[in-house]
């Protein structure tokens, strides 16, 4: 298997994540790791995505599961856009959070890696900011079967955290279109568990009190995730 000497920035992330017995094959004190280049593309018309976070972790961590109530960390992301608590759920795992929002139509690329062969599962999460509590991403995807040069592409649906009623009222939607409140600990959704999102209705489609317009409507998928094993 190909080994990589990664950049200082990524070695720094990995170095604080684990102490292990992986040996560098050039004996120079560098770290051998499995690295991935990840490209995210926002497929929506006008749903900016909050700064996306990626976590490389051991198998078994699920940031969400359809049919289960959202964790508070997921609720914080889905209602307000911050991934900070979600990343802390896997404290010590290599992670990357973008510096800014991923605008509709835009792409961003970053690299993530680990020296620990067990740290081979990927979670990516981000909020659709012009919604009450929609998010998208992947969780607990096993990358261990990928060989250097391999690529995988995922097209991800919009999920609903099940924590906030989709009233589309301006005071409850935090993105730039409405500028309302983000996270609120009250849970008032009709279902109370993570599901797929039903989409934005918008004021042109009869929801006259909606702060959202036809421009914020979306269909699945909403995000393309391209993963390349380095």
């Amino acid at each position: 298997m190909k080994t990589l000497i990664l950049t200082a920035a990524i070695v720094g992330l990995a170095a604080c994540s684990s102490n292990n017995d992986d040996k560098s094959d050039d004996g120079g004190g560098d770290i051998t790791m499995s690295g991935y280049r990840i490209e995210l593309t926002n497929l929506t018309n006008n749903q900016h995505l909050s700064p996306p976070a990626a976590i490389l972790h051991a198998g078994g961590f699920r940031a969400w599961e359809v049919g289960q109530p959202a964790s508070e960390a997921l609720e914080v992301l889905a209602e307000g856009g911050s991934t900070r608590q979600l990343v802390m759920l896997q404290r010590g795992s290599p992670n990357h959070t973008a510096n800014g929002e991923l605008l509709a139509g835009a792409s961003l690329t970053f690299e993530i890696g680990s020296t620990d062969p067990d740290v081979s599962h990927l979670t990516v999460a981000t909020m659709l900011v012009n919604t009450n509590d929609a998010f998208t991403g992947l969780t607990n995807v096993d990358l261990s079967g990928m060989q250097p040069g391999d690529q995988r592409v995922f097209l991800t649906p919009a999920y609903d955290a099940g924590t906030e009623f989709n009233d589309e009222l301006g005071r409850h939607v935090p993105g730039p279109v409405a500028g309302g409140e983000g996270f609120n600990a009250v849970r008032d959704d009709v279902t109370g568990v993570v599901t797929h999102h039903a989409g934005v209705v918008g004021k042109e489609d009869g929801l006259t009190e909606s702060a959202l317009s036809q421009a914020e409507r979306f269909d699945n998928p909403v995000l393309m995730i391209r993963i390349e094993r380095l």
Binding site: V66, P157, F165, N166, E168, H196, A198, V201, D205, N220
Partner: protein, 231 residues
């Protein structure tokens, strides 16, 4: 020569046919506010269908799509020598909920079909038609869309109507529907089975065009996830 040829042909067929299988199946309702009525899950020979996209619904399919009654389709499966699991969730499958069960298939029943009504709709259903069952051991994930049976006007009026030919929606299991709707739509333009165009809804609990709520009862495809474990 001819008997030998026949034997060779039979051997060839046998080597490509899927033999009896023990499948573990999980079906997840991915919608945010719609229930599924009792599911019918069936393995059957290639060429047998519970529904075919682009063709008219059978009366049995209509009974399922308008009122959740799978008895007619279950009898069709039995008549075709198929293997079935009827109502694995023991009732409604709630938004986000999953049902897990086993399906034992006999030789030659190498296709899978699934149907259930999406409630509340007039004649919407979730389903998959004639899926080739994988034979190599492993986990396989598929998604399913919402279809319109093409048999009933999508008026979105919740009046208890679930019998074929009776307009209206039987019920909203979430208890979030209204009353007094004037009716969203007349008869379908497409009378064949087609992709459901979704629910309109409104936010007027005692009037407006629809008894459904536009913030609660809509969905985007896919509406269900299907996982098959081949042992």
């Amino acid at each position: 020569m001819k008997p030998l040829l026949t034997t060779g042909l039979l051997a060839l067929l046998a080597s490509t046919a899927v033999e009896a299988q023990e499948l573990d199946i999980t079906i997840t309702n991915l919608t945010h506010g719609s229930h599924f009525t009792p599911l019918l899950v069936a393995a059957h020979p290639d060429g047998m269908h519970l529904f075919e996209v682009g063709k008219p619904a059978s009366t049995q399919l209509q009974a399922m799509a308008e009122g959740g009654d799978i008895s007619g389709l279950a009898a069709d499966i039995d008549g075709a020598g198929g293997d079935k699991v009827a109502n694995p969730a023991a009732g409604l499958l709630a938004p986000g909920a999953s049902t897990r069960f086993s399906l034992t298939t006999q030789d030659g029943n190498d296709r899978l079909s699934i149907v259930a009504m999406v409630l509340p709709t007039n004649d919407g259903f979730v389903g998959i038609d004639n899926l080739a069952i994988p034979s190599t051991p492993g986990n396989y994930t598929f998604t399913m869309n919402a279809w319109d049976a093409g048999t009933e006007a999508n008026d979105e009026i919740v009046n208890g109507g679930g019998t074929p030919g009776t307009p209206g929606i039987p019920a909203d299991p979430l208890g979030k529907s209204g009353t007094g709707g004037s009716g969203v739509a007349g008869a379908d333009d497409n009378g064949n089975i087609h992709i459901h165009r979704g629910v309109i809804g409104d936010t007027d609990p005692t009037g407006g065009p629809s008894d459904l709520d536009s913030r609660i009862h809509r969905w985007l495809n896919p509406v269900a996830r299907l996982t098959i474990t081949v042992k």
